[in-house]
Symmetry: C2
């Protein structure tokens, strides 16, 4: 979903609180505003940070909303099994890089554009491929079991031509379609029927009840170096607008983080 640019997921320290669940000095993550000090009047989205042996910025990503997005969409919608073929589009972002790595840990074959950094099996850049269907057929000779969609539009349409029977598509985002007056047509939906394929849009909020289960899985993998988590950190609130614009042109590599202040 589109994010209102005046709010976003951040990591903060409580400087004062009259709420019984939060006290001065607590570290929290959740929805905050783009400013140095914020008055939080509806703290429902805030969660206390319990593990501080990992970078705090991770709570804007792998240990926060994007991590839960990757986990919920992949585990709950797609139920990946060892040996299955997984395609992640826009794997350069916070969510995509995690989906691919989680799938690798589960023994899947994973393709996207970050082959070297994250140890995926194959890679291509969807913005540079004249024929997406041919590119997918090159990398998935036996077809795709799981597609984690962050792109939508023509990419989704080409993937539909390459899905295996009983395939699953988690629709996490459709960044190619945001803001278009005339969205791309998708012509291959009959493949849902031919291939008994499930396609499901989701919001991360559906899966927050699994947050502690997720931490139990992901924290050991982070500590043991089995998951590489890449951030693209810029300094200062004034860098925010350019950073958010870059998400739509593919400028970032890894989770885009704006560091407002550091202790």
């Amino acid at each position: 979903m589109m994010i209102n640019p005046l709010t976003g997921y951040g990591v903060s320290k409580v400087v004062d609180s009259v709420h019984p669940d939060f006290k001065k000095g607590d570290l929290v993550w959740g929805i905050t505003t783009w400013e140095e000090y914020s008055l939080i009047t509806s703290p429902e989205s805030l969660r206390k940070i319990e593990h501080t042996d990992v970078p705090l910025s991770y709570y804007t990503g792998i240990l926060g909303m994007p991590g839960m997005t990757a986990y919920g969409g992949l585990y709950e919608i797609c139920s990946p099994k060892q040996g299955e073929y997984v395609f992640v589009s826009a794997a350069s972002g916070a969510v995509g890089q995690l989906v691919g790595q989680f799938a690798k840990l589960l023994g899947c074959y994973v393709v996207d554009l970050l082959k070297n950094k994250f140890g995926f099996d194959e890679a291509f850049n969807y913005k540079e491929e004249p024929n997406l269907d041919a590119a997918l057929k090159r990398y998935f000779r036996e077809g795709i079991d799981i597609y984690f969609d962050n792109v939508g539009g023509k990419m989704l349409d080409a993937v539909l031509l390459n899905m295996k029977f009983n395939g699953r598509i988690a629709v996490c985002g459709m960044i190619s379609q945001y803001g278009l007056d005339h969205p791309d047509g998708v012509y291959n939906l009959i493949r849902l029927l031919m291939g008994q394929i499930r396609m499901e849009g989701f919001w991360v909020t559906k899966y927050y009840h699994l947050y502690h289960k997720y931490l139990d899985m992901v924290l050991p993998n982070i500590r043991e170096g089995k998951i590489v988590y890449v951030e693209d950190m810029v300094q200062g609130l004034e860098s925010g607008p350019a950073a958010i614009a870059g998400l739509f042109t593919g400028r970032n590599y890894g989770k885009q983080v704006v560091e407002v202040a550091r202790e």
Copy 2:
């Protein structure tokens, strides 16, 4: 799925058998060929008919493959709850009429084009509506929870604009798209994401293990007259080609059955 016109679901009496599960005189339903006497070499699709207090032709429909299709798609994919809004396209067929009636029995609000016959709440003919989105908004002021799709294409596209949050779409057929050189584009898939909607194509074979559970539900409803099941019966094998062609022009009203022979 398209049906090979040389085979189809039929009801037959065994005239001879060397298979241990079938003996002379048994009534069976399953995939047979379009002829008066057939040699069945792979009887895996055949099931013995155990209840004969209902018309035998029902085993080509409500008590056979179409019944299981309606049941599997509605119950297993869509999990209807009392008070939910259900839209069934092409409700004039064998599957559609059952989906709508099952949903009514569960306390749902049901719209399609067979209002008077089957007791649905509202009705319209998708082939005569110049603006499908407006028609849906007229009948579903609060939106659609469940769409049982038999049509695909422009109908599906309009439905996407009217789905409620957490909606479910069972893709059972896309009859408007069969045989097209250039299928219709679907432009509103971003609604899957906005509305956390699940869309799933399925084959009836996925649900055959539930057949006895289904009979336990449907047989009492048939016997008590709580379900109306309409057949469009034509006589003689020679009527078959015209009958099958009529499915694509909307000529039939109710399940199209060809009576080859009667005892």
